[in-house]
Symmetry: C2
Subunit: 317 residues, 2 copies
């Protein structure tokens, strides 16, 4: 067993990668722009050059056991990404191409599954065998762990809880083409949509009315709520309630010991967590009442994506 793995997180904007040891220390990390190359071969060449530079600078050449990659729509079983609409090369055999280039085994999964693996290996989920990771970012992602194993499902693509339908009629249009998905309400962009809806539907004053309505972000809503703005607080109540209701539904499926929240919105503190926990409790089936914990991620956001992907590197064959 070699001492390091390389973790790569391919996001829509940046590709972040780092050398990680078995204790979860990020020895060194770097990044390149994902969108710079429309041709995957050019992208891979740059990634390889930069990674080798990192290996050389950190005495890690020939010391990399495996490469783990987290990427949108990445399939654990066949190593492919398919229909990844935010990437310049939406469909290709990612694991195979990276493995051939580096001469190192590669395993891939989607970003939220990678986050769950990272949390289980190095973070708040150490020692937990049954938990659900929910990533609250631009979208809502999830990684489900049952009996100590990430749930990949029959086709390698399980765990898309951001696309649970939480509003069956008149729901918001989702990027997936359907309506009413959890992520249209409980992502950062969902919070901004709620802000626009509330500002149009209601008439009371609000700090948010000082802003350009189309440019309002979830951060603006957070800042207003922290300044005592009632409409902004109501937006968090609405968001937390929907997420808590959905989490009660998720519980009847796999009865997790804990939900682990990750991503920008999870840092909203009690603004989000109080209505979330109240809704979860109010909607929980009696046998599960009071059981699932709600825990915030312990991974540093800057390192989390790389750590999560790297955890998969130890499994690569």
């Amino acid at each position: 067993m070699k001492p390091y793995v390389l973790g790569i997180d391919i996001g829509g904007t940046n590709t972040v990668f780092g050398i990680v040891d078995a204790r979860g220390n990020v020895i060194a990390s770097s990044s390149i722009k994902t969108q710079k190359h429309t041709n995957f071969e050019d992208y891979l060449n740059e990634l390889h050059t930069e990674a080798v530079r990192l290996f050389e600078a950190n005495d890690a050449v020939d010391k990399i056991q495996g490469i783990g990659i987290g990427a949108p729509n990445a399939n654990y079983y066949d190593g492919r990404i398919d229909n990844a609409v935010n990437l310049p090369w939406p469909s290709l055999p990612l694991a195979q191409l990276v493995s051939e280039k580096f001469g190192i085994p590669v395993a891939v999964t989607n970003d939220a599954n990678a986050a769950a693996l990272g949390e289980m290996t190095y973070g708040a989920a150490r020692g937990l065998k049954d938990f659900i990771m929910i990533t609250l970012g631009t979208g809502v992602g999830s990684g489900i762990v049952i009996n100590g194993q990430v749930v990949y499902g029959h086709d390698g693509l399980a765990g898309e809880l951001g696309h649970l339908i939480v509003k069956r009629n008149n729901g918001r249009l989702c990027g997936c083409g359907r309506t009413g998905c959890l992520e249209t309400y409980c992502s950062a962009t969902g919070v901004a949509r709620t802000a626009r809806e509330f500002l149009e539907a209601r008439t009371e004053p609000s700090l948010l009315r000082n802003l350009e309505i189309e440019a309002i972000t979830s951060k603006d809503v957070y800042d207003a709520a922290m300044n005592g703005d009632q409409l902004a607080k109501d937006i968090f109540n609405f968001t937390g309630t929907i997420l808590g209701e959905a989490m009660a539904d998720m519980t009847v499926f796999s009865s997790p010991e804990a939900f682990i929240l990750f991503g920008g919105l999870s840092k909203s503190g009690d603004l989000l967590l109080r209505p979330l926990k109240e809704a979860m409790d109010r909607n929980m089936l009696a046998v599960f009442k009071g059981k699932p914990k709600v825990i915030l991620s312990e991974l540093k956001e800057a390192d989390a994506a790389v750590l999560g992907a790297s955890a998969l590197g130890w499994e690569a064959k």
Copy 2:
């Protein structure tokens, strides 16, 4: 390894038990009335006497490897039943008491998980590693299999998909005390409730209007639909649509290869399956579209409960 297991299905009305061999042949079976004894010790004495009689009549004394029991709310981990409202003794350490009485290892789980195990061991799910069993009886139960293992969750009680909330507002009151649960719509009793609602809300003639409205059963609705009654057909469309929508939601969780339907309502054929499959397809997230199969149970209903419970008997330690 001894050649037989004893499968016991404890239902609200009957307790059915049978000697089963490793190929899933029910060598012999019998039953007693569950409600006859309000005292569990008396019940267990009768069960033991009748089971031993069965062993003796079939040359199976000292040939029983283990006992598997399916019972409402039975917990795989601690062997207990708790809050089983349909049983005369709602809370007790079931596995321990039965094991002490018989001198044979006992494993327990809830009835739907037992059905999933039976289907995986002897029925339509042979060879499947990822599937969801849905039992459409008086209630709606479920057994979830991921990576070849029944999902028990952190507390041994996972897989209560009959209590997914499918109608968040103005949903029907469920036996669990909440409103809008899947089983209030898609169980046999749910179909009867829909019939009463439709008959009151609509005015067109229907064969169902010849029946005492409070006494209408799902079988009556089936018979009317088979005789071409449009209102009865609409009841099945309504039921199948809600179930198909819920199954699309279940798919984003664990991406199963198949759903296996079991129980009286599943025998309604295309009356139920056509709207179910249409709704499932219409509501399916793109990456899963067309993937999960819908399969009817292959177990004979009379044997299924015993077979399912018996499959667990091989695991008993």
